[in-house]
Amino acid sequence: MTGLPEFIMSQVPIALLALAVLLIAVIDRLFNKNAERISGVIAIAAAFLALLYQAYYCPLVLSRESGNLLFRGMAFNDGIAAFTELFILFSLLLAILLDYSDSGGRSRALLLLSAIGAMIVAEAANLITLVLGIIILTIPLYSLTSFNRQNPAVREASMKYLLIGFFATGILLFGSALYFAATGTLSLHDVVLETGGRFFFSIATGMIISSMLFLAGVLPFAAVNIDVSEGSSRVAGSLTAFGALASFAFLLRMFPNLLVGNVSSLMFSGLLVIALVTVIGANLLAVVQSDLRRLIACLAISSAGYTLLTALAFNSAAAPGVLVFLAAWCPVVLVAMYVTRYVKTDDGTPKLDDMTGAIYRSPVVSIAFALMLGSLAGLPLTIGFMGRIMILPPLIDEGLTGAAVVAMVSGLAGLYAVSRVIVRMFAVDKSDEDEDDEEVTEISVPGWPESIGLWIAITFTVIAGIIPAPFYYLAVLASGHL
């Protein structure tokens, strides 16, 4: 295996997923009966094998002193890409397992396609690659949003996603054009400005970063995510997880090139304001939510804000901190969103009150949900706590102590929001009192793949919270390639 060319070895996971998409498309056509079961097996197998391979290949990449360029400079093969792709694939596997019983072949294929797009974005070394990756990441998920067209919330969500997403892509394309005008190339490395290109380069930078921030999930770009999550939690969870991992991989590489030495101070200040507004705004919004999915979406947006804040600290601790924090919250948000699908309500939108006494009705789901929320709030014994520890040193070392204090204190609002849910989950035992009460919301795990997915998520969250050293070590090695 190690004798193969690097450009093949680095793309094996993408190839596996693409092959799975093709097989699912064929099976969907050829087999009416058993098509769903077969496609499910193929999807799980592809995601699992891709993850296993990436777990083997990632250390090989990280052991090198620096990254390489592939496909004539179209893609990076470095530690940042390897690390984020590992967690994209992990999130993908969880998504497939947690939605196994409710998914058909088409939705699995779309999910696999979006994961492919995310990995392409994470590797992008050229604006064409970037645009391609974003389109492959987002279009399948936009399509997935509109599967249940009878639900008005779903229709609203899909329309919002479509409009905002296309605007963002359009801005990216426009920015790419200006970038080309300024530099004479669409390459994102070894950039040399043309004479008089500084003005266009600055605008291009702003446009590119803006469109990536939409994908990253920060305010005000990602405000639509809160509404979308109400209509389609699996799309919201997947897009948040894949989008954040992919976009921050891109931004980590690009910030030092795009911000330093250009219109950096104004742009830096603007990004700092965006990060703080995201953290403060999302945490405060979380307090007033009564819908579980909207609450999780707000917590996800605040996590993206913390990530952006840390990414703006250009020191040696920032990149490892960003990577570990991404690994801490992206899979967790995805799991939390998917778990809300197990809460069976009449209108399909689970509220906080539906979780009353949940621990007694469905302990595994409740414990998983509590751990995911606790991780997003940064409680100990979860990877979220370790992630918060990792993002503080770069901020303080860079002199952004005030921003760190504001961000962490505003996190109390998110903590309050989470505590409201946890208190409801544990507080009242309704299972004995209200056996015949029709108002008790059913919470149940549909099948064994979902149970496996939940236990994988629980194990990851707790074990990584107690033993975070391996993730931190990988993140440090990955950051060495910047």
């Binding site: 503080l392 040193p393 962490m408 109390l412 903590l415 505590s419 946890i422 208190v423 544990f426 507080a427």
Partner: protein, 530 residues
């Protein structure tokens, strides 16, 4: 002298407590028995510390072996260690925790608690969290156990409490606000330290920390102090206490008043005083004023309470001000007195809360006016109640008196050495004893004396053997320390002197205080305490 494995003491309760989930959920006796084993074994093992901890040896003992310390350790980046160790201060706290927990768990036998198994496990997890805080010598590890403890306390208050749980959420938000500030302070300390370490032992002697100017020390001091002051709770950050305590289950209330509040005081002794001596000295009078206001104001409020649970919580807040006052005398007697008082007041208040819980189980009410004339009906209860009240007020021969006396002596000594404002503080602090005595004697009169005011009070049954067995160890320990306090102070005196030496204002550039052998140097310099 062989080292005690502190990890066994810390993780013993929660690991053994996992066995609860193999027992039947409705078999309360078996569950309680196993929970007693889970906390009893660490208690017995912790008693070995009395013999293995040598006051004349190194300041920190039973340190985690080198090859077990690595938690996150990457050269040039973060280094977070799983480092535990014990000194005189943490010895007191560990013994308090391991002694109190089995008593509190045994006291839940007749309590009507839903999901009893999970409740017992939560109490054991809380014990692990508290012990972890007292024994951690790495700041991140300390923060990890600190926030875990607060989370478990919140769950105990919220899940098994009564009422609308606003008190529980109020406590959680107060405590987490402090935790956030503390976390930022920890990271800031790390960035200032020249060694780039989170180890408390290394930070004590790190030039980057010891040479911090007052302006920087002040910010760091307050970042930590606010977190600890919230937990104590020090006036005016005390408002969460009465609300949360009146909602909490009695066992949760007992352990939080007895041990959790001492965690804040421990943090001041472990971090604030040694690492920020300039700031500690600069703000000592201000903080002492807050402490005295808390003693007097909350002492008055205690008298006015009609609910026995809010009575206990205001009384505790008032008494905890004495501990803060003693610490910030920055003198040997004051700190020694604070330590004795921390231990003794913890036992006394736990006893008081347990007895109020016993009353609640019999009468299903916590309103003081619903009692009356109980002494005729339950004389044995009355006898133990008097003993606990004497201990709570701080009268001899109970050890709370020893602690109070040393604190006041320390206040007067500090007044003699510095400013006469301390004399005024001392007088006001002494008045606290008067308010407590009024509150407790009046409450005792309303509950125990006179004719039974209600028919229900005539049929209340007296203490059983099991309940007596719970209270006897508390009273024996309080009496023993009260009469033989030198046995107690001998072990912690070198540690106290070491803390004072670190808190002495050492001009930047002077030789740093060595850790090993520091005990002998400090003792030679300072002489005897008593």
């Amino acid at each position: 002298m062989h080292d005690t494995d502190l990890s066994l003491i810390v993780f013993g309760p929660v690991v053994l407590g996992l066995g609860l989930f193999f027992a039947r959920r409705d078999d309360r006796l078996s569950l309680m028995d196993w929970a007693l084993v889970s906390c009893g074994v660490p208690f017995l093992y912790s008693l070995s510390l009395i013999w293995t901890y040598g006051p004349d040896g190194p300041v920190f003992q039973s340190l985690t072996p080198e090859n077990y310390r690595a938690w996150i350790s990457i050269a040039g980046h973060l280094r977070i260690e799983f480092l535990m160790g014990i000194d005189g201060i943490s010895l007191v706290m560990v013994l308090l925790t391991t002694l109190i927990t089995p008593i509190i768990i045994a006291g839940t036998r007749n309590a009507r608690i839903d999901n009893y198994r999970e409740f017992l496990f939560a109490l054991l997890a809380l014990e692990t969290g508290l012990l972890g805080c007292f024994l951690s010598l790495d700041l991140i590890l300390f923060a990890f156990f600190w926030m875990s403890t607060l989370t478990v306390v919140f769950l105990i208050f919220a899940v098994w409490g009564s009422g609308d749980r606003h008190g529980a959420i109020k406590f959680f938000l107060f405590a987490m606000f402090g935790s956030v500030l503390m976390l930022i302070g920890i990271i800031a300390l790390h960035s200032f330290s020249e060694q780039g370490t989170f180890s408390i032992i290394d930070l004590y002697s790190d030039p980057g920390i010891t040479e911090l100017p007052l302006s920087v020390q002040s910010w760091l001091f307050w970042a930590f102090f606010i977190a600890f002051a919230i937990l104590i709770p020090l006036f005016p950050l005390h408002t969460w206490m009465p609300d949360s305590q009146s909602d909490a289950p009695f066992a949760g209330s007992a352990i939080s008043l007895a041990v959790l509040t001492k965690l804040g005081a421990y943090g001041i002794l472990r971090i604030c005083l040694p690492m920020f001596p300039l700031a500690s000295d600069h703000f000592s009078i201000f903080i002492s004023v807050l402490a005295v206001i808390g003693i007097v104001y909350c002492g008055w409020l205690t008298i006015a309470q009609r609910d026995i649970r809010r009575f206990c919580s205001y009384l505790a807040v008032s008494q905890l001000g004495v501990i803060v006052l003693g610490i910030f005398t920055l003198g040997a007697n004051g700190i020694m007195g604070a330590l004795i008082y921390m231990f003794s007041q913890g036992l006394a208040i736990a006893g008081l809360v347990l007895m109020t819980g016993m009353l609640y189980e019999r009468r299903r009410t916590t309103r003081i006016e619903d009692f009356g004339g109980l002494l005729k009906t339950i004389p044995v209860f009355g006898a133990f109640f008097i003993a606990i009240l004497i201990a709570t007020v701080g009268l001899p021969p109970m050890s709370t008196f020893n602690g109070l006396f040393l604190v006041l002596l320390g206040v007067l000594e500090t007044g003699f050495e510095t400013t006469t404002a301390w004399y005024i503080l001392g007088v006001l602090a002494v008045s606290g004893i008067i308010w407590w005595a009024i509150a407790l004697s009046w409450t005792h009169r309303r509950i125990m004396l006179g004719k039974p005011s209600r028919r229900e009070n005539e049929t209340v049954h007296d203490l059983g053997i099991r309940e007596i067995v719970l209270l006897v160890p508390l009273i024996i320990v309080l009496l023993w320390i009260g009469l033989q306090s030198s046995q107690f102070t001998r072990r912690i005196e070198p540690c106290v002197l070491n803390t004072i030496h670190r808190t002495s204002i050492i001009p930047p550039g002077d030789a740093e205080m060595p850790l090993n052998g520091a005990v002998e140097d400090a003792t030679d310099e300072r002489g005897d305490v008593e």
